[in-house]
Symmetry: D2
């Protein structure tokens, strides 16, 4: 079992992550994590805040001489001074200035009722998207593990503010090159221009934008997940993991919602075989998952990301203490974070996929895991014969 | 913690369910379960199979004198003879006639590779939608528990084969009346006529249809779920539970995918207050979930259901043993099961919601739970004041 | 993850078990389970009740043609009529005759307070040791799985009523022969005679006896369990599983409590190596567990079992409704159940050990698991060399 | 659900703890944790190492203005320089000097085989008892929570090296006073003198001592834990938690092993009632647990702690690489750590007890939890009446 916990508030001293259940022997350096943290912080439409901070991970446990040891991995990301000073130099733990007006679209209201807190800061500091840095740090480690199993994960922006990319890239290596240099992680450069213009305009108007992104997982063997009990289904687990990203409001596999309009004969992926590839499909309507298991094709999910709810021209709200109408609190924020959401979703997907590998194969030693997976790939490519 | 396991194959002797973690004192009779099982079996487009069987639940443990005792609840649903005879009278456990040609859209191929089974029957018997009867039995119990907490769950068909309902019903009581008598669980009777015609046509052509349905949960208090760790988010948990239903390929909350096209100022639900209702919203774009918590508004999900993959005119496939091309096995099946899927999704949602209640409030005694929830509702309606 | 749930009351219609997470391909027949159920019911000192009933398991799911399929396994044990009639022919679910006087040593009092039940029967029917039949059914399946991994588990009675066996048997095969034909599962036949006399005397006096038994697990490879987090320690998991058996009040490994009196130099097992056996020890003070892991030596636990609290001459108690002093209810029961407890503990230990194997090695296919374990044994016998 | 993870190696930069699932509103300061960390480090027989370091906790998340917020709590304990220098000033992460000779009684051998590590340091750094500092930090928080629920936990040394205390103290307040000023956390000052002499002598001889301690939990309400499924039994969960402490080899409740020698009529606690105390017992043979639930009496466990396996005169071992006989590595260590083990066991018990409270009562807000528990105590003292 692979599990992690994270802690840390948006303007607190640091974000902490403990990740338990890794095999021993995964090559890992802080740079692996920092690379992913940087990818999360990039993207046209991120606020000024992003320019002043740059997350750096420090590994404090679980790695020796550049390899995981099997012991729990601890990572911390210190919030730099500039970030902390945004809170007006106030001691984070002091309660001097209570926030009492809940922002629509955030956890401010329900969270305060649930935990019975009078200062919304007690809620908003943890409900902040800052928490997703922990997920990306964690995901970076799993992505490293997956890469040795020849599995790659790719997030790609498909639309922003209703402007759709007409083009996506389907090879991991090519996509990697194009997307990493794109300011919006979008393969359609023309559409990206329009998206950036829309972001500029929204910014001027004190407004925000959402969008849609895809997650693709390349080279999964068949049989990860299972149909035997609902909570072992890979699609369910991935849906939970991606839906749990703040701002995500929809998740679909393959053709997803539009598959619901197809006839059965046009909606499933016929099965073929040749000596080289083994079993294969010519279509991928299912998005690589059948009956809650990977089916050997590319895994394809799409997710809808709502416009950021922190607005410079705030919505109506009500004061927590007086019950008088008031405008929601204004906090410095981004205009569009869809590219970041795609990076976070890579990490959450990697976590689920990594867990599925470790739930299926030998898990104490990474070299052993690699060997097991290779052997299983070979066997399942040609079909399994017991006699 | 509320947990359940189920067992049972499609043509085996019975489906068994054990549900553990219920409070003591919930009024419960077998009829409560049978009513839900019947709802699952109804719906225009279900095959002849559905006409010959009628599921009956027997409670064998966990209830005395019409109340749960706190001990694990056991329910079994015996597969009637007609069902078993469909398997040609063969002893279910005998291995005489191996199925070797995997059906696209099912778990046949990946499942056989994963579990190393030569006879696909070992996979298809459990991967069958028959397993969802167990989920509905389990959900029936939780729905009963929720009804005493004044929470209701409603599944409604929104489209079939691309034909959309133009009208939905938003009151639980009214919807209940209309939907239960509708052959497709659809509030737009005109659209329903067209849907039935489409089902008839698909049937003639040996084809199948999918669709979209909604799940609404009425009267949830705010604060179920939590933002503190990703795996406690209510939307993530619901997404997993609904995506885990065989055939579901997409899940969204509130405006979902179309929310991704909105501006921030048009995409969030402003907060208001009056003495009678307490905090309230005039819109529900979020579908009743903010920051992974119920926010006190009606919970609204939509799910996409793919066309049934068991086809009377089967797709291309490959023989498991010879690797020769062949047509996928033909099994008697339904043309459209979207209304059933909506009922199953009610149950899965109820399970997650019920778990969220028991994760939040006193849980050993049902009268105690009811009292706790009432008090919390009162407190959270008017806002919480510590001083 | 291997998990099971059970349901069923002592005088209800049946005991149900669902076991999920088994690899596919384990040879399994109902007789495997019945053999273990019979072992649980044997033993000098069991009441007349045991003579009239004989548990028979029926597998209703998860097995085809004598092999597990990977799908959840369902087992049921019907309570025979004689058992049900002991309840005076009353319909089990009817509430006619309330039991209101809690028995000391049982869950009657605390359970009624916890679940707010007025009729103690709601508690006592599930808190009954009848529930352990489910554990043994489940354990039987895991024992079968372990036997293919060349691992054996043995329970042995060490003392009854303070009378100690002077002799134990240390080879599994020999012990099996002797213990299975012993009426008390005790290797010291002379001591067993005295124990039986003590049981006879206690019976005459309306009293009961407890005792101590051991659990040995033969041929465990090193490295099951882990030191990295407390909840992964094999000794902790085994202690929980055995302590969870009704009546068990103490658990120890190896020398256990008497190890606390030893000096360090006399209290640990020095390490040796030869080409044939690989690493080995000459002593086993640790009972086969170091740092929460199996260390390759025989696992040895001991457990203390209290005298049965159901007494023919009952202890003082208080009436639940009137708060008046009264004698605890008298129910037909056994005088001594230590041999049965040893069988139940075999099953609970097997469950933990089985889970540890599946948490460590490939798990979908039993032939694959066997191969993995063999290879790991070979490697760990000679020491691991990465270069 | 209350859960925690910890990370950190014995000579690494720090120990990190994340504790998730706490109610909001528990008063908490770093000093609460530091007090417990200091208690863990005290005790006659701890090596020179303990003199040079003094653990200090820093809370980096989850607390604002002296109260928990409901968000995950992060605590870190930096390893001071002196500790790190013991490792010869070597960079902890460098692999220059491999340890290849496994120490008997430690996880060195099994751990290296399991995780396939050539340098035993990769194992011993995490398998070290240093990890228990994290457990105590975590326990300190739960102890604080429990104190507001009027529940207290007390560890007490009963024997060291076979020398038994003839006297224990049964009132929490009195015990606290005496034990906190005792160098061995032992209530029998005369016996303590002999224990210290024995420790001195063992030290001279390069040897070590173990012992026995008790854990008492005062003022538990009845009904924590449950009999309905084995993994919910409070005694099983406590046994796991205490057995998981490095060095613990036995755990018993109440009379424990000696209860196995008693007759039934002498081995159970008769039930009485008076208006003031409600239900009560005159004896406590059961140690406060019946049928896997607290029964309202004082919870009493005892645990056996083996002599420390790190010896100045090491035992026989075998070199990992050459398979040649060699003496086990010598590391600076303590002679006796029984008092520390008692403190760690308080923490682990508190964790289980705290979890049981949060599994039973309202959990989001601490004031709400306190109110619930008070009301339940009142109700269960006088007996529950539904009519």
């Amino acid at each position: 079992m692979l599990r992690f916990l994270s802690a840390g508030e948006s303007h607190g001293p640091k974000i902490s992550i403990i990740l338990e259940g890794l095999p021993a022997g995964i090559p890992l350096h802080e740079q692996d994590i920092n690379d992913q943290l940087a990818r999360r912080q990039k993207g046209y439409g991120r606020g000024g805040r992003m320019k002043i901070e740059k997350d750096r991970a420090v590994i404090t446990a679980g790695v020796r001489s550049g390899e995981t040891t099997g012991s729990p991995l601890a990572v911390e990301i210190t919030n730099i001074d500039e970030r902390k000073q945004q809170k007006n130099g106030a001691d984070f733990t002091k309660n001097e200035h209570k926030i009492t007006c809940p922002r629509p679209g955030h956890g401010d209201l329900a969270g305060s009722l649930k935990y019975e807190r009078k200062d919304i800061t007690d809620i908003s500091e943890r409900a902040s998207a800052r928490e997703t840095a922990a997920r990306v740090a964690c995901g970076a480690v799993i992505l490293k593990m997956l890469s040795g199993l020849e599995v790659n994960v790719l997030g790609q922006v498909l639309s922003i503010g209703g402007i759709e990319a007409k083009k996506t890239i389907n090879s991991f290596d090519e996509a990697k090159k194009v997307l990493e240099s794109s300011p919006l992680r979008c393969a359609d450069l023309e559409a990206a221009e329009k998206m950036m213009a829309a972001i500029d305009q929204a910014k001027e108007e004190g407004d925000t934008l959402g969008g849609v992104f895809s997650i693709e997982v390349f080279n999964l063997p068949p049989g990860l997940g299972s149909f035997v009990h609902w909570d072992r289904r890979l699609d369910g687990l991935l849906a939970q993991a991606v839906m749990s990203i703040p701002g995500v409001k929809g998740v679909e596999f393959g053709l997803g919602f539009s598959l619901s309009e197809k006839r059965g004969r046009q909606g499933h992926d016929a099965i073929y075989f040749d000596r080289e590839q083994g079993f294969y499909r010519k279509t991928n309507y299912a998005g690589g998952v059948e009956a809650g298991m990977s089916n050997g094709e590319k895994l394809l999910m799409k997710a809808a990301f709502k416009p950021i709810p922190t607005l410079q021209k705030p919505l109506d709200s009500v004061k927590w203490d007086s019950r008088e109408p008031a405008c929601a609190s204004v906090v410095r924020s981004d205009v569009c974070a869809v590219p970041s959401a795609a990076v976070i979703a890579e990490s959450m997907s990697a976590f689920v996929i990594g867990q599925a590998f470790l739930d299926t194969f030998s898990r104490d030693s990474y070299p052993g895991l690699i060997k097991d997976v290779r052997q299983y790939r070979k066997q399942s490519r040609q079909g399994f014969d017991r006699e």
